[in-house]
């Protein structure tokens, strides 16, 4: 299976839940904001059920990159995307595709916790109803249990979500995303505004979600990437060409223990970035 492309497949280090079958194929993806090119011709395959980390310094285009995958990039009027993204072999840019369905399938958790100004339960109920799910209250409970929030909030479900702490809010946002039964979950530095304990909870959660969902996580925290990821893509800003690019992609172990690229060697060795 893809042995030539992925030489590490032989000594497979991934968890069994993580299939080496690409879920997302990114082909020659380029993005510019107005005249400014952010990245160009990115090619990447994301494996089914795996956690793929995206690391790299600030402002090299990581957030912009993942927001192409659920087409949230389109809210920026100046953004121009070219190339293609295939999910299960189907292009997400197909004009027949229902954008709301795509975003249900490809959930996102933002950097800042972003509960809506509704009650705790309504934050999950509203999207469930919108997507015509049944057994709403069971699903709410299940999602909240999955993120380990149920016991903390089961008696205050009708209170405003904004009353929760930062870590609780972020887990509520994850519950809201997984309640919709996505196939892919994008996370943009989900722990960067959380305290260490909440971070720990979120990392455990990512471990639990692995296998059920294909996860792409941006993180600044290299130790965290090392703990949670199966694969890692390193983004870097090329000062000469003035664009971001992926300088190395591979198994998490390889990127951290045995990187081929000199910049990555220095970066994970803590010398750069």
């Amino acid at each position: 299976m893809n042995q030539n492309k992925y030489p590490w497949v032989k000594e497979l280090g991934c968890k069994p839940c993580c299939e080496l079958k690409p879920k997302i194929k990114i082909k020659n993806l380029s993005l510019s904001y107005g005249k400014r090119q952010i990245f160009e011709d990115i090619n990447l395959e994301i494996n089914t059920g795996c956690v793929t980390g995206i690391i790299g310094p600030s402002a090299c285009g990581k957030s912009s990159f993942i927001s192409c995958l659920n087409r949230m990039i389109e809210v920026v009027p100046s953004a121009k995307v070219s190339g293609d993204v295939l999910i299960d072999g189907k292009s997400i840019f197909d004009s027949r595709l229902d954008l709301n369905e795509l975003r249900k399938k490809v959930g996102i958790v933002f950097q800042e916790p972003t509960p809506l100004p509704l009650s705790i339960e309504s934050n999950i109920i509203l999207p469930l109803k919108e997507h015509k799910f049944d057994h709403i209250s069971e699903r709410v409970e299940k999602a909240l249990r999955d993120v380990g929030l149920w016991n903390e909030v089961k008696n205050i479900l009708k209170e405003p979500a904004n009353y929760l702490s930062g870590g609780q809010k972020q887990r509520l946002c994850m519950a809201r995303t997984i309640a919709l039964g996505p196939e892919i979950i994008l996370m943009d530095e989900p722990c960067s505004s959380l305290d260490p304990i909440s971070t720990d909870v979120v990392e455990k959660l990512i471990h639990d979600l692995k296998g059920k969902y294909t996860i792409i996580i941006i993180t600044h925290n290299l130790a965290q990437a090392r703990r949670v990821c199966d694969f890692v893509a390193t983004f870097w800003y090329d000062g000469e060409k003035e664009i971001g690019q992926i300088i190395e992609f591979g198994r998490c172990i390889d990127i951290f223990e045995n990187p081929k690229n000199k910049i990555v060697q220095d970066y994970v060795g803590g010398l750069k970035g």
Partner: protein
């Protein structure tokens, strides 16, 4: 220099406050001397010189009611259109916005004449509470819409991104996120419009008219407080005292609306938006 600036700032604020105090004092002193609560419950007698203003208060409230019933849904709808659909229909939004700007600069007497032509004559409502309320609604609409729209524009970016990222349709987003967020601004806009409407005479003379009996229905003519004051001062010799008393009632009414809605807003903010 610093002290000069501070002094000037204090001075202008002080003068403003002084004028307000003097005005309120003048009105209250002049009316409280003869005030009696029966003034609120009696019909006016001999052109308003004697008796009370009961039917006039009722007419005023009815006119305001009609005005609010029209202005809230229409104004909110337009504000939503301007804020939510400006990307899709930039031309239409631009035209509507310009039209509102022009409307807000039109003197109220013109609204009065237009309201008379449209509601009283063309639509056949005659001199009536309906015509008055609708005219006030048109007149206050630009102010109301601007208040609500500017409020909606302060919505945090996340409250727009998150619904999109969850695949929520626009209807759901508007109904569940944007309208609840806009409601406090609807209240503020409503209070401003009520204030403006209570003060209005020119737009009402030709629309709701100046019959000072109790209106039998919304299709009946009714005299608003401001018109009563105007009429007593200008056309009724010896009407000054009652004009003062009516003015006091008007001012108290404005205080009450402001106070009431401030309370509503505060509890609201505590419960829903902040934190």
């Amino acid at each position: 220099m610093e002290r000069m600036t501070k002094f000037l700032a204090w001075l202008s604020a002080g003068i403003l406050l002084l004028i307000l105090v003097l005005m309120v004092q003048d009105i209250f002193v002049n009316s409280l001397r003869h005030f009696d609560f029966s003034f609120l419950s009696q019909d006016p007698l001999s052109g308003g010189r004697k008796g009370g203003i009961f039917p006039i208060i009722i007419s005023t409230l009815l006119i305001l009611g009609v005005c609010m019933i029209v202005i809230v849904p229409m104004g909110l709808g337009t504000a939503l259109f301007l804020s939510e659909y400006s990307d899709e229909h930039p031309k239409v939004v631009h035209i509507v916005r310009k039209a509102l700007e022009i409307l807000s600069g039109v003197p109220s007497i013109v609204f009065g004449l237009f309201g008379n032509a449209l509601f009283c004559v063309f639509l056949g409502f005659g001199f009536s509470i309906w015509s008055g309320g609708l005219t006030l609604a048109i007149m206050s609409m630009p102010l109301f819409i601007r208040t609500v729209e500017e409020g909606i524009r302060t919505i945090p970016k996340n409250y727009r991104l998150v619904p999109l990222s969850l695949g929520l349709g626009r209807t759901t987003t508007i109904r569940s996120i944007i309208i609840p967020y806009a409601l406090p601004f609807v209240i503020v806009g409503g209070v401003l419009s009520i204030g403006r409407s209570l003060a209005e005479t020119a737009a009402l003379i030709f629309t709701s008219g100046y019959v000072d009996r109790m209106p039998e229905s919304l299709s009946d003519s009714g005299r608003a407080l401001s018109i009563h004051i105007y009429d007593l001062t200008m056309n009724v010799p010896g009407g000054d005292t009652n004009a003062y008393k009516t003015a006091m009632v008007l001012i108290v009414l404005i205080f009450i609306t402001n106070g009431l809605f401030t309370i509503v807003l505060k509890t609201w903010y505590k419960k829903r938006i902040i934190l």
